[in-house]
């Protein structure tokens, strides 16, 4: 059961998106996020939404899973929408009753904001659905490697990320074991008020720390034995290579941006100043 946890939220698939180079996917995601904020009217925003939907369909990730990634932001979206509706002024007035003033600008801003946030979250989650954490770490390492000239230890940071990912399941297992051991000794972890429950966690956290430190020492020895120095001169078995599809995907997103600009120009901005 616990042994089966997956790190991150990778969805195993064979789509084009899965096969795109992880570096390109990170770049595309950033470009997309920026272009979301270029939209000025419902036409260009609509194009964005269409593109997002297409991405989800192409990836083959079930809609249910995508919805799950939106769930946590539902509250934020609702909240910002309400604030926008009640506080943004301008355009024609829709409701003007006592202290409640709702204008077209308010409603439009709310709609815009909500759509943008949802698109943003869906697209970013597409990145993590179609890329394994390992590929992501490698890609981040490659993309950040120019920072080495500023003496930032990019490879070491990437190694730390890899080790963190590697040890999450091990530590989850360990927590499970310690919890059971403490329960067997009569620890009561499920009852009591908030403070009592926090206190009940101490007998779990302390052994967890002790064992983690021991693990770290052993791991350091094991890495030493395999000649890890953290210094330069390290090669990688898996070389990342851009394929035609990566350039094609870049082209697609550039076309999308062009589309947004054209639609913005033809239909004008929706918000009246």
């Amino acid at each position: 059961m616990i042994k089966d946890i997956t790190i991150g939220q990778y969805f195993n698939g064979k789509s084009v998106l899965h096969r795109l180079d992880a570096r390109m996917k990170i770049i595309l995601t950033v470009v997309f996020i920026v272009s979301i904020f270029l939209c000025q009217n419902f036409w260009s925003l609509g194009l964005m939404v269409l593109f997002t939907l297409m991405t989800v369909i192409v990836s083959g990730v079930p809609f249910k899973m995508v919805l799950r990634s939106i769930k946590p932001i539902a509250i934020i979206v609702t909240f910002t929408s309400l604030i926008n509706i009640f506080y943004v002024r301008g355009g024609t007035s829709l409701v003007d009753w006592r202290f409640i003033h709702i204008t077209t600008n308010g409603v439009f801003t709310a709609l815009f904001m909500a759509t943008r946030i949802v698109c943003l979250v869906v697209i970013s989650s597409m990145l993590t659905y179609t890329t394994t954490p390992t590929m992501l770490t490698d890609a981040i390492e490659k993309l950040l490697s120019p920072l080495k000239i500023f003496k930032i230890p990019v490879s070491t940071l990437a190694m730390m990320m890899t080790l963190a990912l590697r040890f999450i399941p091990t530590l989850v297992d360990e927590i499970d074991r310690i919890t059971n051991a403490q329960k067997a000794r009569g620890a009561n972890l499920d009852d009591g008020n908030f403070v009592q429950r926090i206190k009940a966690l101490v007998p779990i956290i302390v052994p967890l720390f002790v064992s983690s430190i021991r693990r770290a020492v052993e791991l350091a020895d094991a890495m030493d034995c395999r000649c890890y120095t953290g210094g330069p001169g390290r090669t990688r078995m898996k070389q990342m290579k851009f394929h035609l599809r990566d350039f094609a995907s870049l082209f697609v997103i550039l076309v999308l941006i062009a589309g947004i600009v054209v639609l913005n120009y033809y239909f004008g901005a929706v918000l009246v100043k």
Partner: protein, 286 residues
């Protein structure tokens, strides 16, 4: 012709430094000398805390001797400049497979050593595939290590050492955390390394049935060697081994008890088969 010695301990002493405020450290290894010829399968036995792991760590420069000298393929381990060369010669497999696997994918972990050595990517690929095939884990190359059984993880760790092309592998109780099935897998792999690839194996263990399979057994007590020889000759000393808090293989134990009970039975019995035929012989005589 004399065999080439690959690991040599020359009158080595070592003690862990005491922390401040504690009493002075006691020597854990004291005047230790040992020659391991190339290609040997050596088993090291000893009760808990007698310094086996310390010896293992002295073998590839994780620890360096306070006095005396450890040489690996003629290289002194105590010089900082030699550390990479030493570790290219002597690989190490530890007890807990979880604490020595560094990557989130099996083949990436096996590639870790050669990557650190700056080997060419294509060559790494070949070595990784070869090593995984050798330990029978090739089909699992794309898996996540935490989904493997203990025996499988330990085989991945062995593949990681193999991919570094070391001449020598030191294993510190590699089967201690495994179930009988996993132990069997790992033992088979270790013997394959030694017999088919000619790799020198130093196996630290407290399972007697594993030690029986070795070419030579060294028994330690308090950081010193107390018995050294072929398994047959070492396990003969049943009383001495028991005094050291060690067991003997079950078959040896049975023969020993029969002998004590007055039966004329050989005292250098190692496994069930030998025991059975010896008992038969005794019965026939009667």
């Amino acid at each position: 012709m004399k065999e080439k010695v690959i690991i040599k301990f020359d009158n080595v002493s070592f003690a862990y430094k005491a922390d401040e405020g504690e009493t002075a450290a006691t020597g854990v290894v004291d005047g230790f000398s040992l020659d391991v010829p190339e290609g040997q399968f050596l088993a090291v036995l000893g009760h808990n805390g007698c310094g086996k792991s310390t010896i293992a760590k002295l073998m590839n420069g994780i620890l360096v001797p306070d006095s005396g000298k450890v040489t690996v393929d003629g290289i002194d381990t105590s010089e900082d400049d030699n550390v990479i060369d030493v570790r290219k010669t002597v690989g190490m497999v530890f007890q807990n497979p979880d604490n020595q696997i560094v990557a989130t994918i099996v083949e990436d972990d096996v590639a870790f050593g050669p990557e650190n050595l700056g080997v060419d990517p294509k060559e790494i690929r070949n070595r990784v595939d070869d090593a995984l095939k050798a330990v029978g884990m090739y089909e699992f190359r794309g898996r996540e290590p935490h989904r493997l059984s203990g025996g499988q993880k330990q085989r991945v760790a062995i593949a990681g050492v193999l991919a570094m092309n070391t001449k020598c592998v030191v294993m510190d109780e590699p089967t201690a955390m495994l179930d009988p099935h996993g132990r069997q897998e790992v033992m088979d792999t270790i013997r394959m390394l030694n017999k088919e690839r000619g790799i020198t194996v130093i196996l630290i263990t407290h399972y007697m049935d594993e030690a029986v399979k070795a070419d030579r057994v060294v028994v330690m007590d308090n950081g010193k060697i107390v018995l050294d020889g072929e398994p047959r000759n070492v396990f003969k000393n049943v009383e001495k081994l028991k005094a050291l808090g060690l067991d003997v293989p079950q078959a040896t134990e049975l023969a020993y008890r029969l002998k004590k009970a007055g039966f004329p039975i050989a005292d250098d019995i190692l496994d069930e088969e030998e025991c059975a035929s010896a008992v038969l012989k005794v019965l026939e005589v009667k």
